[in-house]
Amino acid sequence: MTVGRIPQPLSRFHRGYASLRLLVSNRQALVGIVILAAFVLIAVVGPFVVGPIEKPGTPGTTPLLNPSATHLFGTDQAGRDLVKLNVVGAQVSLIVGVVASVLTMLIGTAVGIVAGFLGGRWDNWLMRITDFFYVLPTLVLAVVLAAILGPNLLNVIVVIGMTSWPATARIIRSQTLSIRERMFVDRARAYGASNRRIMTRQILPNVFGLVMANTTLTIATSIFYETTLSFLGVGPHETYSWGRILEESFNAGALTLGKWAWFVPPGLSVVLVVLAFTLIGAGFDEILDPRLRLRGGPHGVTELAMAELEATLEPRA
């Protein structure tokens, strides 16, 4: 039986796997993934390898050491090992980046889809609110909010989330507006789908590629924001991040002291992680199109052709 050559159904798992394979086969995405994987590894495993950060004033610590075999990046003004600080910083930066972006995406996508799809009064109100947040000077707001709410990790995440969702909402809304006009949305309504179902089952999958691409880019900006806030002294104070290392090195005049190992590693790390997410984001953009996904392959074509041939065969009139 030729039926055996008809392509086997692909499970969801297989389709996900196929997407992943495509992502990996995309060169720029691959570079991004490799960089990111390295940093994730550092963030997850690193703290166990390098041990806890020394308390300031711990006996046996010397401030402002130059790089050496025991302290690869040297020590800071309180005598803490900079390798340890950077490792902990990776953790904090990634957490802030991912969690803040997820928050951004949840708010932005929800607002964008509801405003774009329901239109009318919903659209008007939601977009006015969006515009309000959009035109606020983001950094100033972030600084003020961080100052008011207090400089801890959670607050920094909330601040970043609150200030960066309007851009996402507008992008998603405009995409929703164009998808709403597509016939398959009308068709869904015609077979009785509710607004909520259309938004989640028809619109969302079609803006999902955009959401993913946008998320990775937002992660990059979030990490930047966290760094900037920390650098300005309103970042999370209970722990270390790359931004905070940069801030302290700046305050201690590392640049004039020629202590490059103090500020180059965190600075470079920020740039690399941001770059990694940008590359992955661009890769996502390309692969979430099913037209580029795994195909049925050459097999099955002849069968289908014959099937169609037979399908059109009716007793001649």
């Binding site: 030729t2 002849t302 052709a305 014959m306 169609e308 041939l309 065969l313 009139a317």
Partner: protein
């Protein structure tokens, strides 16, 4: 001598992973003042042919062989510059999507005047504007509407503007690529009538590209039936109607509802046009043909002439110029099914090595996603999508 002579025209498109031959060695001619229809399903290469003649092929397409002789001059050997000067002054083209072919931010009058200014030295802006007015009246639009913008025009009116534009430099040949497909019946009738009258009054030659044989029957003298990049049959529209020789022409003719005839569903053509990236062996129509024999699978039928203008490429036509009855022929199993003769032997069903499956890897070639994948130029390249 013929005004336009196309010889062995071959057009290839570069696609990811190879090239596709969208037009495969077609030959035909158009006399001065004659209206010729170029007919076939989507993806048969009819639009590509027009684009190749006017050298408007998209970036990834190229003329892979053959010649286009216009008024005794081989256009394929011309350089870009000289050719550009001939396009529009000697031959022009009317595209299907009149809505997209007009610039939305320019006055329509200026758009019609543009080719006049471009191609004729020494014509002033005012003269060109005046000529545009005359052209407008000629296609049945008030001269005063020159100052308007495309969005103020309906579909039919825009198509009239396109016709005016095509006639701006008094070409001798106009190619209409599905000029009425997107229009309402009444507007279609208006446009076809306009084209017919202009042709008579101005002595234009017209190539009308369409998938609708009844439109060709209404407006043309002769028709060229194309299938999968090749010419299946050419002849006068009367001959094609009364005595189509190629089974494909016959089927195509039989697809059009005839309100003068009996009220029954037309037969249509089963299956899909083949993918040109892996066309069927032999005669490309054989997987969908109810006259197909072993020889059709094996070799491409030579073109033969019957009468002055009637030419056909089919194995099932006998030497006296008659399409033989399927019952007289040693049909392959798929053809037996199609001819309604039931199945015999083993090769008949889908399960065995039916000739459709055996012909070649893509024998039947009705690749999903190929064929009628879209109107316009792109549709001429099935399988070209990445």
């Amino acid at each position: 001598m013929a005004l336009l002579e196309v010889k062995d025209l071959t057009v290839e498109f570069r696609v990811p992973g190879g090239s596709v031959r969208a037009v495969d060695g077609i030959s035909f001619h158009v006399e001065a003042g004659e209206a010729v229809g170029l007919v076939g399903e989507s993806g048969c290469g009819k639009t590509t042919t027009a684009l190749a003649i006017t050298r408007l092929l998209p970036e990834n397409g190229r003329l892979a062989g053959g010649s286009v002789i216009f008024d005794g001059e081989d256009l394929t050997s011309l350089k870009r510059g000289p050719f550009r000067r001939r396009r529009w002054t000697e031959m022009s083209i009317i595209f299907q999507g009149a809505m997209n072919a007009l610039n939305p931010v320019k006055r329509v009058g200026d758009q019609v005047a543009e080719p006049i200014l471009l191609h004729e030295a020494g014509v002033t802006r005012r003269q060109a504007w005046k000529r545009a007015g005359e052209l407008f009246e000629m296609v049945g639009i008030s001269r005063d509407r020159r100052k308007e913008y495309p969005h103020q025009f309906s579909g039919g009116m825009r198509q009239r503007v396109m016709i005016a534009m095509a006639l701006a430099n008094r070409p001798r040949l106009v190619i209409g690529d599905e000029p009425t497909t997107a229009l309402d019946v009444m507007v279609q009738a208006q446009i076809l009538e306009l084209l017919e009258r202009l042709r008579r009054e101005l002595g234009l030659a017209l190539i009308l590209i369409t998938h609708d044989l009844s439109v060709v029957a209404e407006t043309c003298d002769r028709a060229i039936v194309m299938y999968a990049g090749q010419v299946a049959e050419t002849g006068s529209v009367q001959a094609l109607h009364d005595r189509p020789l190629h089974p494909y022409s016959a089927r195509l003719m039989g697809s059009v509802p005839n309100m003068q005839g009996e009220r029954k569903l037309p037969l249509g053509i089963p299956g899909q046009p083949p993918s040109l990236s892996s066309p069927p062996s032999g005669c490309r129509f054989h997987p969908r043909c109810d006259h197909a024999m072993e020889v059709c699978v094996a070799e491409y039928p030579a073109e033969r002439s019957f009468g002055a203008l009637h030419r056909v490429a089919c194995h099932a036509v006998d030497d006296s110029g008659r399409l033989r009855d399927p019952r007289e022929l040693p049909l392959i199993p798929s053809a037996r099914i199609l001819a309604g003769l039931g199945t015999t032997g083993d090769g008949a069903s889908r399960t065995a090595q039916g000739p459709v499956a055996a012909g070649s890897a893509g024998a039947s070639g009705a690749v999903p996603g190929g064929g009628s994948s879209g109107p316009g130029g792109g549709g001429a390249v099935p399988g070209a999508k990445p």
